[in-house]
């Protein structure tokens, strides 16, 4: 793998070809804020909070560091006035959309965005798409997706009905930065829900200890994929 030399905020560093600016920055401890990035999932480039300014010849350009590949001789600045203005406005816009979401409030505090000049809504989802990517890339079932277009865009199951593809693994809830997707186990039932949809799962009961430990659908999915015998999951991991 070829290595390239680039300069981030005055620090020179080497990075492997194919890495993104964000990854290279992480390695040398330069912190760039993100909302739609997760190192276990493919980068999406939607929130634009990770924007940085790159300089080449005499020109500069604003790019999303989570998707921009490192290049030989690249000069990157992560906190110029132009970049700070961008971050502050994006935060202000998202604060209007999701005033009660902690991760946005935290960013607002960090960047000194005290108020938003825009009309308040009351969404919980910041449309980062992490849940959809987790479902696609980790669970591999694509139970939820981004539907509609533009300002009507939202995360949903097809027809907003309980999903038959969902296995109740909860990957979406784990990666959700705002709590817009919640997962709860109540007795023998697991509920996974977003703002407009809800799916319920029967949990499997361990034949030994009697505890409900995982959704039957999820276990069935894994069992089939890995070609395991029908009674493989009848006993929970603790009792095995």
């Amino acid at each position: 793998m070829k290595e390239v030399t680039l300069n981030i905020d005055g620090k020179e560093t080497k990075a492997k070809e194919g890495m993104t600016i964000l990854e290279a920055a992480k390695e040398i401890g330069v912190r760039i804020p993100t909302l739609c990035y997760h190192e276990g999932l493919s980068p999406y480039g939607a929130c634009r909070i990770c924007s940085v300014e790159i300089f080449r010849d005499k020109r500069s350009r604003v790019v999303a560091s989570c998707t921009y590949p490192v290049e030989e001789g690249l000069v990157v600045k992560t906190d110029t006035e132009r970049i700070i203005d961008i971050r502050k406005m994006i935060i202000e816009l998202l604060l209007a959309r999701c005033p009660n979401v902690k991760v946005i409030q935290d960013l607002a505090l960090e960047y000194g965005v005290k108020e938003t000049r825009f009309e308040l809504e009351n969404e919980n989802c910041i449309l980062c798409g992490l849940c959809v990517r987790a479902c696609e890339e980790i669970a591999g079932v694509g139970a939820i997706s981004l539907v509609n277009r533009g300002t009507r865009r939202e995360v949903a199951t097809p027809y907003y009905e309980p999903s038959t593809a969902c296995i109740g693994c909860g990957s979406c809830a784990y990666v959700c930065p705002t709590g817009a997707i919640r997962m709860e186990d109540k007795g023998d039932t697991r509920i996974v829900q977003g703002s407009n949809w809800k799916t319920e799962f029967k949990l499997k009961k361990c034949e030994v200890c009697g505890n409900y430990w995982a959704p039957e659908a999820q276990l069935e999915y894994i069992r089939e994929k890995a070609n395991l015998p029908p009674d493989f999951f009848d006993v929970c991991p603790n009792c095995k």
Binding site: V141, G142, A143, I144, S145, L146, V147, N148, R149, T157, P158, Y159, S163, T164, A165
Partner: protein
């Protein structure tokens, strides 16, 4: 069966379409066009069947169907009224035509009349800019129309 609500989805018909496009997922949009041409909208059973046939998640078919304006995931009226609101038509008063149509039909743009007779749609340019404002009903183009003509034209459809 209420008028305007399409014919029943026949599994064989969907299978034939899947065969036509060799079940290739890249042909999703093409197959959705064909289904809508046949049934006047995209019934859920059709989407379920093509997802299975193409081996793609239903969520992908639903995302694509909901993203594009041309695709209707709720039943459509018998007659499709499209009013151009491209820039040239706008400058020539296209908004008034749209308002008149909304008034005559009693629905907003994007909606279908309760008797399933008309679906009214705003289009962001039909490419007949020299003839603006333009209204198309069931593929029949009416150029240089004025608000007073809207009702006259729509009266001809039953």
């Amino acid at each position: 069966m209420p008028e305007g609500l399409a014919k029943e989805v026949k599994r064989e018909e969907i299978e034939a379409l899947l065969d036509k496009y060799k079940r290739q997922p890249s042909q999703l949009i093409s197959i959705l066009h064909d289904i809508q041409a046949k049934y006047n909208w995209l019934p859920k059973e059709a989407l379920v069947q093509i997802s299975e046939g193409m081996d793609i998640p239903l969520s992908r078919a639903y995302s694509v169907a909901s993203f594009y304006k041309a695709f209707k995931i709720t039943p459509r009226g018998r007659h499709l009224v499209r009013i151009c609101l491209g820039t040239a038509c706008h400058v020539r008063g296209g908004v008034r035509i749209m308002e008149k149509a909304e008034e005559v039909l009693g629905v907003d743009g994007g909606e279908t009349t309760p008797d399933m007779k008309f679906t009214l749609e705003r289009v962001n340019c039909l490419g007949c800019c020299a003839l603006g404002p333009v209204m198309v009903v069931d593929g029949e183009y009416h150029g240089k129309i004025v608000p007073t003509k809207v009702e006259e034209i729509l009266k001809n459809y039953d």
